[in-house]
Amino acid sequence: MSERKIPWIIKYRPKRVDDVIGQDEAKKTIISWLTEWAKGRIPYKKALLLYGPPGVGKTSLVEAIARELNFDILELNASDYRRKSDIRRIVGTAATKKPLLKKGLIILLDEVDGIDPRADEGGLEALVDVIKNTINPIIMTANDPWKEQFRVLRELCELVDFKELTENQIIALLQKICDSEKIYCEREALRWIASRSMGDARAAINDLQAVAEGYGKVTIGLVRAIVRGREKTINIWRTLNEIFYANQAWAAKKAVTQSEEDYESLIRWLNDNIPKKYSDPLDLFRAYDALARATVMLSRAKISGEWGLLSYVFDLMGPGVSLARRSEEILKTRYGFPDWIRLMAQLKPMREEREKLAEHLSYRILASKSTIMNEVIPYMMLIFRNPSDPVIAARLALGYNLSKDMIKYLAGDNTENVIRALEKIKRARPEEVGKETKREPEKREARKEKSSKGLDYFIKS
């Protein structure tokens, strides 16, 4: 049933040259160079080497220009053409054939710096040969073209510089996507994503989609919790490694105190990654026991304001977790992102609904919210979740004038049934809709008196 989600980096890939953000110099250079080809002339340099950081639009721009100038495109990734024989066979063949329908054929070699001069021996030389003999335009992309091994290649190409995108450019792009997806977003949140992306639009869009699809909105709180700079992820993995693999207390403590990650989120990371590294039940318990006591210390530090206690928090979360391991084995499982923030986002509305329901019932049931939550709601749930008789639940929903959300909380998977039964009752007995059922008729008089209380009060005084 669930529709397949298209990654936004594909959905919002620029279609036209104007859609590509910035890079005006590069646009000009590429267009005039290709226009030469289109006119049947062969430019001085037969290949372009587009270079710049990832996610700034190198490949998208070539695709957009090809579309607008009516060129065909043969797009190859480094993995497709890295070997000498592949380059001769695929690229070489294409480079010497005239296309029949379109103005020309662009051979686009993505990530040319992925060719390893040792592992893919002869690959670069083969490429140089192909460029010398091509009758079609060849465009290559690279992040870093300044390595020595690319020297010969560089001399054959016109170099086209792609600039890192500015924060504001990325924010504007993200804003456009949010608008078109009709997703609520906070400016601050977009700024956060943009600054973490380090000029990489692809990364920023991916981050945006992760938050937007997970939570339906993009707020600074969510983004802070979920989006981290690429650098930071590597840092946290390093810190975790230093903790899990440390054999001495000082090393583990140093890992904690020198981590760039703040201790609260480090605790979250440890919390979800201990079982990924420790498998022996004794190790696992000792590690969680230490971490649990770290959080006890932390809450004491917070409550008392004695921040000197923080040192013990570090002791327990670093060396405590590290030295919990008695067995030699450390699992190879990859680290995972902490889950708890996502879970809390789901948990909070459920808790609030439960509270609201208890509050709603407490005037009638004459018990505290906690008594109602623990002694009354479980039985109501049972009635509401009984699929074979939704009418009883619907009658109770009517009797207590329960909101849809309350019904949903009580009925879970059975919600549809109960709502349907309720609608049916409401159609059949419209006179009972909207008023809470009172036990006895005299209660209604009580209500009347209450409403006239104000006037009464003045007459008496």
């Binding site: 605790i267 919390n271 079982p275 039940p281 004794l282 696992l284 318990f285 590690a287 969680y288 026991d289 971490l291 649990a292 959080t295 006890v296 932390l298 809450s299 004491r300 409550i303 889950d339 708890w340 879970l343 948990l347 459920m350 808790r351 609030e352 439960r354 005037y363 009638r364 049931i365 004459l366 018990a367 505290s368 906690s370 008594t371 623990n374 002694e375 009354v376 479980p378 039985y379 749930m381 049972l382 009635i383 009984n386 008789d389 009883i392 009658r395 109770l396 009517l398 009797g399 009972e432 059922t437 036990r439 006895e440 005299e442 209660k443 008089e445 009580a446 008196e449 209450k450 209380k453």
Partner: protein
């Protein structure tokens, strides 16, 4: 025309007046005297849950003030109010509100008052003295020993006892007749046994069982089992079998599905580990309870619930492994 809307039977069959209350006879007789004299001291109602303390307070107020009694009674719940200052403000405001016509005082009903810290109780005592001319306090508590002496000495003490079998079963029969419930006799005995003299629980079980069809011993036990999320037992079982990650996923699912707090989960586990349906070596129950109590305290103290409960599950996994050897 009878209403199609339904309400919970605990509300529907709650005694409204002191005459309606058939048990707790001594208590009721003394309370009736207060109604007759239209005067009373502060009261302290103590006894186990579901024995009619709150109901008696409402019935007393009803008999004193009539149908509109809730205008003249401030209903507070110590567990729900945020601190003594909030209570003080509410009492202050209430004391200023309109007085009843024929009775010289209004009532402040403070439920679950034994949940207050002793400092808060000291403040409460001053409050009781301050407004003693215009108001009377009824304090309701499960454990009177948790009420400080200066308050106890200012209150007339009423002890509510767990309801007897004939009281509970009698009430259940009355409801059954009124509601046209199909049932078998043994089921009522079963409900009484499970309720341990708690009328609220007994009636809730009856209503839930009736919603499933005929009330039988089997359906009663089914209801009681279902009222505790089955995920709790499953989570414990997984942990004891050594599947820490599985049990932790179950824990998180449980919390999200029912919106439970960490403390709720601890209480559920506690109930579960002493239930005979959980087949584990007896000494394990104590070892679990010991750590559970520690975790419970930490949660009350405000430390992170997800991590504390993870530690608990890791403890279960370790115990499970040891008991296999």
């Amino acid at each position: 025309m009878s209403s199609i809307a339904e309400i919970l039977w605990v509300e529907k069959y709650r005694p409204r007046t002191l005459d309606d209350i058939v048990n707790q006879r001594e208590v009721v007789e003394r309370l009736k005297l207060f109604v007759k004299e239209k005067n009373m001291p502060h009261l302290l109602f103590a006894g186990p849950p579901g024995t009619g303390k709150t109901t008696a307070a409402h019935a007393l107020a009803h008999d004193l003030y009539g149908e509109t009694y809730r205008h003249y009674m401030l209903e507070l719940n110590a567990s729900d109010e945020r601190g003594i200052n909030v209570i003080r403000e509410k009492v202050k405001e209430f004391a200023r509100s309109r007085a009843p016509e024929n009775v010289p005082f209004k009532i402040v009903l403070l439920d679950e008052s034994d949940n207050m810290t002793s400092d808060a109780q000291q403040a409460l005592r001053r409050l009781m003295e301050l407004y003693t001319v215009s108001t009377r306090f009824i304090l309701v508590a499960n454990y009177p020993s948790k009420i400080i002496d200066p308050i106890q000495s200012r209150c007339a003490f009423f002890r509510f006892t767990a309801l007897k079998k004939e009281d509970i079963v009698g009430r259940l029969r009355y409801i059954i007749e009124n509601e046209g419930v199909r049932y078998e006799d043994e089921a009522l005995d079963a409900i009484y046994e499970i309720s341990e003299g708690d009328m609220r629980k007994a009636i809730n079980i009856l209503q839930a069982a009736a919603s499933l069809g005929m009330v039988t011993v089997e359906s009663v036990f089914k209801v009681v089992g279902m009222a505790r999320p089955r995920e709790v037992r499953e989570m414990i079982r997984l942990a004891l079998s050594g599947d820490f990650t599985g049990s932790r996923n179950m824990l998180r699912k449980l919390m999200i599905e029912y919106g439970l707090s960490g403390e709720d989960v601890v209480k559920q586990i506690h109930r579960e580990i002493f239930s005979q349906e959980l087949k584990i070596p007896e000494e394990l129950r104590v070892l679990i309870a010991d750590y559970l109590g520690e975790i419970h305290f930490r949660l009350v103290e405000g430390s992170d619930e997800d991590i504390q409960l993870a530690a608990l599950l890791a403890w279960l996994a370790l115990l499970g492994k040891r008991s296999q050897m």
